[in-house]
């Protein structure tokens, strides 16, 4: 009886979480354009989606920006952690405070202020400004996920490596980095998803004709929702899923 109740409860939670995505995926294979009635299986909407230059470009932009921004932000964030860790306790706390403010800031504030800054310095809005903005707002997330790992690490293994004759960079890459890896991977994934997810900052910092998926959908929804958007959403969902699963498998394997 109790076991049954537990099962039902978990089932309900999972249903709430995944039913909407399931519905979307099913409808993306629907023949007709109805939001309610199933009229038969077809890949018709996928075909239309991949034929649309706009959608393919937006997909490409979204993932290119996300991957580049996540990689760059992870590197900068890791370097920042090394620096912060070497600081005195007082400066460390100040740096952490400064790091947390952008995290709590509303996206709209970040977006508008970035846009204003670009324009003030005479930088016209284009692909690069979006990329730059994404790197900027991703760095604090990376720092936040690496720094706690860094603190757990005792300095003694690093010193042991130096003691055995290793140079500082060698000791860092061979001894420290493997221990930091879980934090680095989760920082990267966090940055990646934040970037894919973002609409507001992209909206304010993109130049004319440059779309990511979110800005594209936003502009298309104004005209009316077409089932190509279901197909597009399904593709995004699957892509993100693949990336998350691969990253997890890789980091698990490293840990073992």
């Amino acid at each position: 009886m109790r076991k049954g109740l537990k099962g039902i409860y978990i089932g309900l939670v999972l249903l709430f979480l995944y039913l909407p995505i399931g519905t979307l995926m099913v409808l993306s294979f629907n023949e007709g354009r109805s939001m309610a009635a199933w009229t038969g299986f077809s890949l018709h909407w996928y075909e239309e989606m991949f034929k649309s230059r706009m959608i393919v470009d937006a997909l490409y932009n979204t993932f290119m920006i996300a991957i580049t921004a996540a990689v760059v932000a992870t590197i900068i964030g890791l370097l920042a952690c090394i620096g912060i860790q070497a600081m005195s306790n007082r400066s460390k706390n100040i740096m952490l405070g400064l790091n947390n403010i952008p995290l709590l800031n509303a996206d709209i504030v970040i977006g508008i202020s970035l846009m204003l800054t670009f324009l003030m310095f005479g930088i016209s809005l284009k692909y690069e400004t979006v990329l730059f903005s994404h790197i900027t707002f991703c760095i604090p997330y990376v720092i936040l996920s690496i720094l706690p790992k860094y603190r757990q690490l005792s300095s003694s293994t690093y010193e042991a490596a130096l003691d055995l004759g290793a140079s500082k960079p060698y000791a860092f890459f061979k001894v420290m980095l493997p221990d930091l890896m879980p934090g680095v991977v989760s920082g990267f994934l966090l940055a990646f998803t934040m970037s894919v997810d973002d609409f507001v900052v992209t909206h304010f910092t993109r130049g004319a004709g440059i779309n990511t998926i979110s800005t594209l959908i936003y502009s298309q929804v104004k005209v009316g929702v077409r089932p190509t958007l279901y197909a597009l959403s399904t593709v995004i969902f699957v892509l993100v899923l693949i990336i998350l699963v691969t990253a997890n498998i890789i980091s698990n394997r490293k840990n073992r």
Partner: protein
């Protein structure tokens, strides 16, 4: 004459307002087993870290084989360390851990393989190459840390309380292993501990430290039998430290009773500290000794009885294989040889100056 290997010259080191080492001087000879002994926080680890290159002294010099290495980074020193908490690399196998230093110095694979095997044999862990670090017991990890340091054939091995985390039995076993290793390899050991028994059993030379200063330096026998001041006497083994008056050469008055001793040159009627080890007090029937008293406490602690005797207003700690029941009247006597007279400590600063000269 032993050859000098390391010399610490007038080393001072402070962390903020905390002066940890105060004008510290120490010479370590080749092939010596030297132990830094002192209470927690007295600067033992800091001294070791300065020798290893992980800490730079505020002033003073570190001389290694006649060369000033004060500013040389740790990876350029022919010195290896066994850290207080082992500091093994958790994501590497035992083999990779031990080979780390050899890989860094670009030795050939065949050489590395041989060396790793040899090192594992030395620490009695043959065949453990592929095991993971976290599958080892504390004692085994300790040995791997040793192996990882000695494969590099350092001139000096620094050991920071390497046995601190082990239980008593294992600790005693490892003490013998360490002495055996030291004799087999012929390297200089600088060893840190706050366990006085460990220091006395293992070392050629013991350096007793307190508050960043050397209190006394000498062979274990010297330190135990002839403590130079009350701190050393109190820190090393159990002892009775009492006030006394040096009446004249070779005569001291303790608790109102005259004792013969062998010390001279303290002057006449000078207040002094007197140290008497508990095993040196001989108890007998009342009237047979020099000072009478009463047994107020008696416990059997394995090898001998440990008693407290109230005599002359002082509670004397006495160790003897012969038991006197609580409440019985006894008389105590001490061989003149076993009475150790020390100058009274002067004020803190004076004491420091006195120790420096």
């Amino acid at each position: 004459m032993a050859k000098e290997l390391i010399r610490l010259e007038n080393i001072s080191k402070a962390f903020g307002d905390n002066l940890v080492l105060d004008n510290f001087n120490l010479t370590v000879n080749e092939n010596e087993f030297i132990t830094l002994l002192g209470p927690s926080g007295c600067g033992k680890t800091t001294t070791l870290r300065i020798v290893g290159g992980f800490e730079t002294p505020d002033s003073g010099k570190v001389i290694f084989e006649g060369r000033d290495i004060t500013q040389v980074p740790p990876n350029k020193r022919h010195i290896n360390t066994v850290f207080q908490k082992y500091a093994l690399f958790p994501h590497m196998s035992i083999e990779e851990n031990i080979a780390f230093g050899l890989k860094v110095s670009k030795k050939s694979d065949a050489y590395i393989k041989d060396k790793v095997k040899y090192a594992l044999k030395l620490v009695n862990l043959e065949g453990y190459e592929k095991r993971k670090i976290d599958s080892l017991s504390g004692g085994q990890q300790q040995r791997i840390a040793m192996a990882r340091a000695i494969v590099n054939e350092p001139k000096v091995l620094l050991l920071d309380e390497p046995l601190g985390a082990l239980d008593l039995k294992l600790r005693q076993e490892m003490q013998y292993e360490l002495i055996r290793l030291k004799n087999e390899l012929g390297i200089t050991f600088i060893y840190v501990t706050h366990d006085q028994e460990e220091a006395l059993t293992m070392s050629d030379k013991v350096v007793v430290m307190n508050d960043g200063r050397i209190q006394q330096m000498g062979s274990p026998e010297e330190i135990y039998n002839e403590p130079e001041n009350a701190f050393v006497a109190d820190f090393i083994g159990d002892s009775n430290i009492v006030d006394g008056i040096m009446v004249q050469d070779r005569v001291v008055k303790i608790c109102g009773t005259i004792f013969d001793c062998v010390d001279e040159g303290f002057g006449k009627n000078k207040p002094v500290d007197v140290v008497i080890r508990p095993e040196d007090i001989i108890l007998s029937k009342p009237g047979k000794g020099i000072m009478d008293g009463e047994v107020i406490h008696n416990v059997f602690i394995g090898v001998h009885y440990e008693m407290e005797v109230l005599a002359g207003g002082f509670e004397w700690l006495v160790q003897s294989t012969k038991s006197f029941p609580v409440g019985s009247k006894v008389s105590m006597r001490v061989d003149p040889d076993n009475i150790q007279i020390m100058h009274k400590p002067k004020s803190h600063d004076e004491e420091a100056i006195a120790l420096d000269v």
